[in-house]
């Protein structure tokens, strides 16, 4: 798989804003970013209110995903180009989520909203009008998704990649430095996990590093590419960014994202936890 199969440049995006069959979608936690200005024609997806079940801690089910995409005017044959803030964290999460439900024609805008803005490209507040579709999803592809029992069993057997910042990994912080500190009951990391912060996979402008640079990065961190890999963070969006780097850019075959991540693991009773840096 080449970079062009999974990423588009901001230049490509600008040249294809009106291309039939290409749908741009902005994915943010904070939808005020979209409301304040977005790429022309892009639809808005709210990761929290639209991609999460509003009662249980889980994703919307297959029927819910079908209803969402139909309502957004996204068809089964459309190429969906996802982008967002936070260096594409939530766009990468949505990319993984689209893949989970079997939508293969999906790409990320390399650099996301940040690169688009740093390029000085145009944003608009105009709401796009798209006709409703009848979207059909597949059952979740669980080869891409890890659950807690599998994570506990993976200690010392599979690669566990903790993609949070070093201070979260060591247990000094419970959340990234731009957030109030809250969430899991205990701080630290899953034993045997290596710490490769998501940010090491990205350049300053938010674009992904090259496949060669990424391969070197994870090799140096001690990732054994002959083994299966599970990536996690705090709630599963930064680890989607790393899942993208490992699975889509480097091309490792067996990589799962643990979306329960530290907010689940760090609150489980009886599981082992390590603290301190490595």
């Amino acid at each position: 798989m080449s970079r062009e199969d999974v990423l588009v440049t901001t230049q490509w995006a600008e040249e294809n804003l009106d291309t039939p069959g290409v749908v741009f979608a902005e994915v943010d936690e904070d939808t005020t970013a979209y409301d304040g200005g977005h790429i022309r024609g892009a639809v808005k997806i709210d990761w929290k209110n639209e991609l999460q079940d509003q009662v249980r801690r889980d994703f919307v089910d297959k029927a819910g995903f079908e209803a969402l995409l139909s309502q957004k005017g996204i068809g089964n044959d459309d190429l969906v180009v996802l982008y967002g803030g936070n260096n594409n964290w939530f766009a990468a999460y949505a990319y993984w989520y689209f893949k989970l439900y079997g939508h293969d024609k999906v790409k990320l805008l390399d650099g996301g909203r940040k690169k688009w803005e740093l390029d000085g490209r145009e944003l608009t507040t105009d709401e796009p009008q798209r006709e409703r579709t009848s979207y059909t999803a597949k059952e979740q592809d669980l080869k891409l998704r890890a659950f807690r029992d599998e994570v506990v069993e993976a200690i010392n057997t599979k690669n566990l990649v903790d993609v949070r910042s070093p201070d979260e990994f060591s247990g000094k912080l419970l959340a990234p430095a731009h957030l109030p500190q809250e969430s899991a009951q205990r701080a630290g990391h899953i034993p045997s996990a290596v710490n490769v912060p998501w940010s090491k996979a990205a350049n300053e402008d938010g674009t992904f590093k090259s496949a060669e640079e990424l391969a070197e990065l994870y090799k140096e961190a001690g990732l054994d590419t002959s083994k299966s890999t599970i990536a996690y963070c705090r709630i599963g969006e930064r680890s989607s960014h790393t899942w993208f780097a490992l699975h889509e850019l480097i091309g490792l075959e067996d990589v799962k994202n643990y979306d329960g991540s530290w907010t689940e693991y760090g609150s489980l009773v009886g599981v082992p936890i390590e603290t301190g840096a490595k």
Binding site: D30, N87, W89, S165, P166, H178, P197, E204, D205
Partner: protein
């Protein structure tokens, strides 16, 4: 409070704000014509490693909840970049200004 990882709305802080025991690194981004809104502000640790990023408010304000230590804040904007250092050794607000040129 939020369940997510998105940054809260960036707002100005008073130097004597009660931070609930947290270490807050906060300040304003300015350009040639005064406060500069919308810059991407990155928090880097003493080794230059990335620790967090927020987008400054329309008035140029930003804030981070950090661990105690020495930090560099670096602003990226389509008109240019800038950075500044701050020592945040204990709880409270540690203010730092970034000029972008």
């Amino acid at each position: 409070m939020t369940d997510g990882c998105g940054a809260p709305q960036q707002t100005a802080v008073a130097a004597d704000e009660d931070t609930n025991g947290q270490v807050v690194v906060a300040g304003k981004v300015t350009g040639g014509d005064g406060p500069l809104g919308g810059a991407y502000v990155r928090l880097l640790n003493a080794d230059g490693e990335f620790a967090g990023e927020v987008q400054a408010s329309p008035e140029g304000d930003f804030r981070f909840y950090a661990a105690p230590g020495s930090w560099t804040v670096r602003a990226l904007h389509r008109t240019g970049n800038g950075e500044a250092s701050v020592s945040a050794e204990g709880p409270g607000v540690h203010q730092v200004a970034i000029a972008v040129a």
